[in-house]
Amino acid sequence: MVKFLSQEWAEQAKKKVLTELDKAKDLKNMNATLLNVIQNIPPDNKTIYYYIKFTEGNLDELITGTDESLKQKQADFIVTGDYTTFIQINNGQMSSAMALLKNRVKMTGNKMKALTITKPIDTYNNCVKGVPTEY
């Protein structure tokens, strides 16, 4: 078991995606960068940044951390929400698209482009949820 959003979790998640998902079939050769801003993490309500970068369906980067410099990463999409919501997304209780619909997360970025990556991002999340995680 690794702690959600920890360095170990990020490493295992990246490894799992790179070994289990097909760049074309599963990740639709997507080119996208996404910064998740995860707020109100207990016990002291800190914020963790969770950044992913895909090039032609390849997961180039998966970085998590509290370092403010991550906030400066240029991302096509920035998704902001509470830790409890990201737990639900990560453990498969709620898709990120549903979280958006339920107003649990806010997203900035080109919505039409977001539409094109909805499915591959969902596939990515489904893969990552397979990492044995504690919250």
């Binding site: 830790y83 898709s95 698209a97 619909l101 339920k102 919505k111 039409m112 539409l115 499915k119």
Partner: protein, 646 residues
């Protein structure tokens, strides 16, 4: 009366919420008024009778209190029978009998936890609960049926109390959701929209106690709290000879405004969304009170359009709304222009919209006309059959205007009728039903233009004479013990006055008498070509999936430049297969609507009702390309899973 004996009735409870307002002059349920929670109102008793019959909830001490709070006065039967022909006292009797079968030790108290203690500290012990029985009464009108989530119900009285509730929810990291009268949820929760429309656990904030209502006749405005219903606001406005632009009688004005911007037949004159709102007080997700008029807030009207703009849960809780009222003209009259086809009705109504004729202006379907004005569903079905088969009456352009405009409409209309004919149709609907396939109707049906024959020609007198009826005649097929009440009720002038009925909108819930319905349609350019394409885009999926679909009504905005169209799918929501098919039809209708330029399906307006229509409907969106539609399919699958799971 046993729970299972009334299950067929209770399962069909549509949760319209009309039992919470005094729309017939009977007063309302005293237990509901005293306690507030849905469980104590007739709609809640119906839901509880169903939930106990289907073993979805275990009894608690609250059950005894709920059952004993009813004095069987029968007000609910009068109200509910008027709308849906149901008798909530049967559900109460079944609950009473069920309670009598339980040993006293079966009714256990519900232990408090920290959250309910916190809520009670905010609103007082009697207005916050975690009791499973009270929570079960909110099923299907904000909580999904059979939901396993942990819920709390709280009924605040003030804005400050809601701030404290939001802070409490944030501290405990649980979601919350405000509830007006549950009318939108009652419809949406039967479909695949259930998941995005509600919360899977958390605090339900029932706004029923927040009934502040102040009309300022000088500025011709009203300021209201979130518990005020359309009927209550309209009644208060009418005291000053003013009118509010409001939705159906039972809907809470603020919830409806925030959610859908308020869709009415008066929109060509009164507008939509912020056209009617002056200011709103609301609480954001951090528990901060803000106002639309605050200078430092981000642009409150900025909104996104298109597929990913769907958001069924509002981001803020509106706690106060100041809205415009409108002066009622002293010489307002109702005039109806019947048509046998939609294109002709649209041409006529659009011409009036362009010329700004009609304070209220809409195209109504035969289905709405017959269902709304008939006292029972059986009569409505006969009336519908007669209107289609013999009268060629399929659409009506429905106008309320001043006496000058009325003359213009009469000059332009091929044939028209007014309030006297509507009165005859209402009071004579039972008689008309009995004339089904009569020689008189057959004779009319053989005429070249039956509409002209009936409403303008020499047979008009015979038709009116044939219909000549009294309230006594009208009520003869109703339940015997209710006939006296309904005879007196239908003798009241307002019950046959089309202007009063347009103002107070007490009839639309009659759509739910037989089946549940699902609202389809949305906003689009006001040209006939687009409208007909959209009607086709809504009709085709209904046919494809075996759902009854019918045009509802259309009203214009901005002198006919834009319009709002309602088309309804009717289905049996107690039948899983029918629910499956309606979900498929909904998705297919989205797909088809999005392919048409300028069309915004209704769901994509949700939560944007306090915005400016200029930010929501303009610019006209291009229809989605084939590739975008494929991504739309993927989005649907991501949101709702494969279609077999809906």
């Amino acid at each position: 009366m046993k729970l299972l004996e009334v299950l067929e009735t209770t399962r069909r409870e549509p949760h319209c919420g009309l039992c919470k307002i005094d729309f017939l002059g009977t007063n309302v349920c005293s237990a509901g008024k005293k306690h507030g929670f849905v469980a104590y109102w007739p709609e809640g008793r119906m839901e509880l009778a169903r939930a106990f019959a289907e073993k979805e909830v275990e009894p608690t001490e609250a059950l005894r209190d709920i059952v004993n709070s009813c004095n069987m006065c029968g007000i609910c039967d009068r109200q509910c029978y008027f709308v849906t022909q149901r008798r909530p006292t049967q559900a109460q009797q079944a609950l009473q009998e069920y309670l009598n079968t339980l040993p006293p030790q079966a009714l256990k108290p519900t232990p408090e936890d920290d959250i309910v203690k916190g809520l009670r500290a905010i609103v007082g012990d009697e207005y916050a609960t975690n009791d499973p029985v009270i929570i079960a009464s909110y099923q299907r009108s904000i909580i999904k049926q059979k939901s396993k989530g942990k819920y709390y119900i709280v009924m605040p009285k003030t804005t400050q109390e809601i701030v404290a509730i939001v802070n409490l929810a944030n501290t405990h990291k649980i979601p919350y959701l405000p509830r007006g009268n549950g009318t939108f949820f009652g419809v949406a929760l039967q479909t695949l929209l259930a998941e995005p429309a509600t919360i899977e656990q958390g605090i339900i904030i029932d706004m029923w106690r927040m009934k502040d209502l102040e009309v300022d006749p000088e500025s011709i405005t009203a300021t209201i709290g979130p518990g005020v219903t359309s009927f209550e606001l309209q009644k208060a406005a009418h005291v000053h000879k003013l009118r509010a632009n409001v939705a159906e009688a039972e809907s809470c004005v603020i919830a409806n405004a925030q959610n859908l911007g308020i869709v009415t037949t008066w929109s060509n004159t009164y507008g939509w969304g912020t056209d009617n709102f002056i200011d709103a007080e609301y609480i954001d997700s951090t528990g901060t009170i803000q106002h639309l008029s605050d200078k430092d807030i981000p642009n409150p009207y900025a909104a996104e359009q298109g597929l990913l703009s769907l958001s069924l849960i509002p981001s803020v809780i509106v706690t106060k709304l100041t809205l415009k009222l409108h002066q009622i003209l002293p010489d307002e009259e109702a005039i109806f222009i019947p048509f046998n086809n939609l294109p002709d009705a649209l041409d006529f109504a659009h011409e009036l919209a362009r010329r700004n004729i009609g304070v209220s202006l809409a195209v109504l379907s035969r289905k709405y006309l017959t269902e709304f004005i008939s006292p029972t569903h059986e009569i409505a079905e006969d009336f519908n059959y007669i209107a289609e088969k013999y009268l060629n009456l399929n659409y009506i352009v429905d106008v309320i205007c001043d006496s000058h405009s009325k003359k213009i409409v009469e000059d332009l209309a091929p044939v028209s009728f007014g309030k006297e004919m509507i009165k005859s149709l209402i009071l004579g609907s039972s008689k008309l039903s009995s004339m089904k396939d009569s020689s008189l109707l057959k004779m009319i049906g053989e005429e070249e233009d039956p509409l002209k024959t009936v409403f303008a020609g020499p047979m008009r007198k015979h038709f009116e004479k044939g219909l000549a009826s009294s309230p006594k005649e009208l009520v003869k097929d109703m339940d015997k013990d209710l006939q006296d009440f309904f005879e007196k009720l239908y003798s009241k002038p307002e019950m046959t006055d089309p202007i009063w009925l347009h103002n107070y909108r007490i009839l639309p819930c009659r759509m739910e008498r037989k089946h549940m319905w699902m609202y389809r349609g949305g906003y689009m350019p006001g040209d006939k070509k687009t409208i007909l394409k959209v009607v086709d885009a809504l009709e085709q999926p209904a046919k494809q999936y075996g759902i009854e679909g019918a045009f509802g009504f259309l009203s214009y905005l901005e002198r006919g430049k834009l319009c709002h169209l309602e088309y309804d799918y009717y289905y049996d929501h107690t039948d899983p297969d029918a629910r499956h098919r309606v979900n498929k039809a909904i998705v297919e209708s989205w797909r088809q609507q999005f392919a048409i330029k300028g069309v915004t399906p209704l769901e994509f307006i949700c939560s944007k009702g306090l915005h400016r229509k200029e930010h929501i409907i303009y610019p006209l969106l291009p229809g989605l390309s084939k590739e975008e539609l494929e991504h739309f399919e993927e989005l649907i699958e991501t949101l709702f899973g494969g279609e077999d799971t809906w």
